[in-house]
């Protein structure tokens, strides 16, 4: 009798264990491939980097990993500080033995990590920082800095994308041809502003003023007052660290100018709540959006929103593509060795969520930065309309058309 009870108990426990493990993903015997992700977790664009990397890794593992090996993601919050990022990079390489690092939202932080990627020979794909200095360092020191790639439109390319949009949809159609540049004072906006100065006149838009302000500015009344005195039609922005305050004050004070350019925080769904709806009418550039840019874009956005209850920021698209490109590079190289990965990434031609991605070669001034253009990545322009982000440019991906905010239209017609 005792033996029967024992056997029934063993069977019951075994059945329970089997039931418990029914839904568990495949167990890999192979050694995992470690990938690091570094970013500034607190602001929504920074969080997007971590979420997108986690999503890509989950999907890759669910489909059998890379060459039969699972991928293990190591995440490090740099708190927006270079010192924390350098410490994280060292920990990732020395302790967690990552084969590559992706991420970093702030250009200054990416620039601080570049010498470490070069020194430790670890591929580092920047998916947030947009400064042109990032690729300039690779161009000027190719042999030692070849491990660094910039999978985001750099500031010069962003300025070009915005000028292309303003020419097609604003200057030609609405006749708005006077622009005032207003940018936060960070490294990435130096090349952005230089790009605006170069590309806006070529697009037939006159630059009537230029202001750079500290990112901790609270009251934007004097800035908008200065801007209004120059009578521009458009304020072309370079905002990533700031966003909520100037947007709200533009709306509150009903400044009669179109707000367009880079307003990185405005490109996530969280911005509507943060500004209490004051972002209505704001136009912002991003790498991609919930639009048919490639067959991968909309499915990615849907899964991302379902999982994280927020839309991806520009660097979310970039990071997601970066992890998949690393997968493809490892498969192509049949290796996780850094030099082999660099060669595979340099040769790669990949259709991601933001377009067709190829990196510039070592002769280009933007070495290892992605190529810009209709056949590659152009970025998109999205506008807040009735609480939703609507893609208005480029035409092939547009889900709506530009709407001039009512107070801009009213005040302009009154004039």
């Amino acid at each position: 009798m005792k033996g029967v009870v024992e056997r029934i108990s063993i069977l019951a426990v075994s059945a329970l264990l089997c039931a418990a493990f029914m839904g568990v993903p495949p167990v890999y015997g192979a050694k995992p491939i470690n990938i690091g992700v570094i970013g500034f977790q607190s602001p929504p664009p920074g969080q997007s980097i971590f979420d997108a990397a986690a999503l890509a890794v989950d999907q890759i593992n669910a489909k059998g990993g890379i060459n039969g090996r699972p991928v293990k993601l190591f995440a490090y919050d740099d708190h927006g500080k270079s010192a924390d990022a350098v410490e994280a990079f060292q920990r990732a390489v020395y302790s967690d033995h990552v084969v590559a690092v992706v991420g970093v939202w702030i250009s200054e932080v990416a620039l601080a990590l570049e010498p470490w990627a070069a020194r430790l020979h670890v591929p580092f794909i920047v998916t947030g920082g947009a400064s042109t200095k990032i690729s300039a360092l690779v161009h000027d020191n190719y042999n030692s800095y070849k491990y660094i790639f910039q999978l985001t439109l750099n500031s010069d390319q962003m300025a070009r994308s915005i000028a292309d949009f303003l020419k097609e949809d604003v200057a030609d159609k609405l006749g708005y041809k006077r622009a005032f540049i207003a940018s936060e004072n960070f490294d990435w906006t130096k090349s952005l502003d230089a790009g605006y100065m170069k590309y806006l006149p070529k697009a037939g838009i006159q630059v009537v003023g230029h202001i750079r302000f500290a990112p901790d500015t609270n009251d934007y009344t004097p800035i908008f007052s200065t801007i209004e005195k120059a009578h521009p039609d458009i304020v072309v922005t370079g905002w990533a660290h700031v966003g909520v305050k100037p947007t709200v004050q533009w709306h509150e004070q009903q400044v009669p100018v179109l707000l367009a350019g880079v307003n990185a925080q405005a490109a996530t769904s969280a911005f509507w709540a943060a500004t209490s709806g004051a972002t209505e009418g704001v136009i912002s550039q991003s790498e991609a959006s919930d639009a048919p840019i490639t067959p991968k874009t909309i499915p990615f956005v849907k899964v991302f929103e379902q999982k994280f209850k927020i839309s991806p920021a520009y660097c979310g698209y970039n990071t997601y593509d970066a992890v998949y490109m690393l997968k493809k590079a490892i498969e192509a190289a049949h290796s996780t060795k850094s030099d082999a990965l660099v060669k595979a990434l340099e040769k790669m031609s990949y259709t991601g969520t933001q377009g067709h991605i190829e990196f510039h070669g070592k002769k280009s001034q933007f070495t290892h930065s992605i190529k810009y253009g209709p056949d590659f990545v152009t970025g998109i322009q999205a506008q807040w309309q009735n609480g939703k982000l609507v893609t208005i440019w480029p035409k092939r991906a547009a889900t709506g058309t530009l709407v001039v905010p009512h107070f801009v239209a009213q005040k302009r017609s009154a004039k």
Binding site: P43, K245, V248, E252, A274
Partner: protein, 292 residues
């Protein structure tokens, strides 16, 4: 001429909101002798909690603001019961070192609140919806109704505070406690009741100024140290503990910041306040109005 009116009107609005922001800080120092380094954290706490309830639970504006102010009152009492009172009653801390212990405790309390807000709500600033929309033209410039209302509410609250302290019995109790704790005890007034009243008023004042500031300039956890610094500069300039001094000092600091923003660069707006703080500490440590 337009520039003159812009500086005059915007400076007045900004200064009035700053004045309310500094009142609580001044009151708590004047009465309890506590330099509350968590002051800025209270302002952003009230603002972010109010914003959260308005944005996510779709509560009407007044209800959301009331919850934000309640959060400030709750944390105000938490600070009193968890840190200030135990330190004050402690027999292991020498009397002469208690002030520095309380100062350190408020600094740590501030870091805790900031960290908590940063973790839960992120570092992106949030803005409370305007009380009214639209703008008007006065003296050649455009001013939003919201800014005018914010300034008016600030001045009204300051007026009520002045009346409560100088013309009501509980207010006189606070005034007496600021002059001599022993005297108050001899008069048969329980000191604990005075402190309960004080921290309650402080929580309300900090809460109201927090939500008003967030309806104008926005609020984020990372703005807390700057707000504490601004209140500190105003209170030192006016004279530590002097409510009248703080009121006038707010206008000096507010107009200095506005002049800097319009005539030099908006990036340097807070600098004059801190420069004035250093000069006052060196030349007139008792401030412009001394202590009430």
């Amino acid at each position: 001429m337009q520039l003159f009116w812009e500086i005059l009107v915007n400076g007045f609005i900004v200064s009035s909101i700053y004045a309310l922001g500094a009142m609580g800080f001044s009151l708590i120092f004047g009465t309890a002798g506590i330099l509350n380094l968590a002051h800025g954290a209270y302002l952003v706490l009230a603002a972010i909690v109010a914003w959260f309830f308005i944005s996510y639970f779709k509560l009407p504006l007044p209800a959301g603001l009331a919850i934000g102010i309640l959060a400030s009152v709750l944390f105000s009492y938490l600070l009193f019961f968890l840190l200030v009172n135990p330190i004050d009653k402690s027999k292991r801390i020498p009397e002469e070192e208690k002030a520095i212990f309380v100062l350190t405790a408020t600094l740590l309390w501030s870091i805790i609140i900031e960290g908590m807000l940063d973790y839960v709500f992120g570092s992106t600033p949030v803005v409370i919806p305007p009380f009214v929309s639209g703008s008007m033209h006065v003296f050649e410039i455009s001013v939003t109704y919201n800014m005018i209302i914010l300034a008016m509410i600030s001045l009204l609250i300051i007026g009520l505070l002045w009346f409560a302290i100088n013309r009501t019995r509980p207010g006189k109790m606070l005034l007496a406690a600021s002059m001599s704790r022993t005297g108050v005890a001899i008069m048969g007034i329980e000191l604990k009741r005075v402190y309960l009243l004080l921290w309650g008023i402080y929580g309300i004042l900090a809460g109201i100024s927090g939500v008003l500031l967030a309806a104008f300039l926005g609020a984020s956890a990372r703005a807390a140290p700057e707000l504490t610094g601004m209140a500190f500069s105003i209170v030192v300039l006016g004279g530590l503990g002097s409510i009248t001094g703080s009121f006038f000092a707010s206008y000096i600091i507010g107009y200095l910041g506005t002049l800097t923003a319009y005539l030099i660069s908006p990036s340097y707006t807070p600098l004059p306040a801190f420069f004035v703080l250093v000069v006052i500490l060196l030349l007139r440590p008792q401030g412009l109005f001394g202590r009430f």
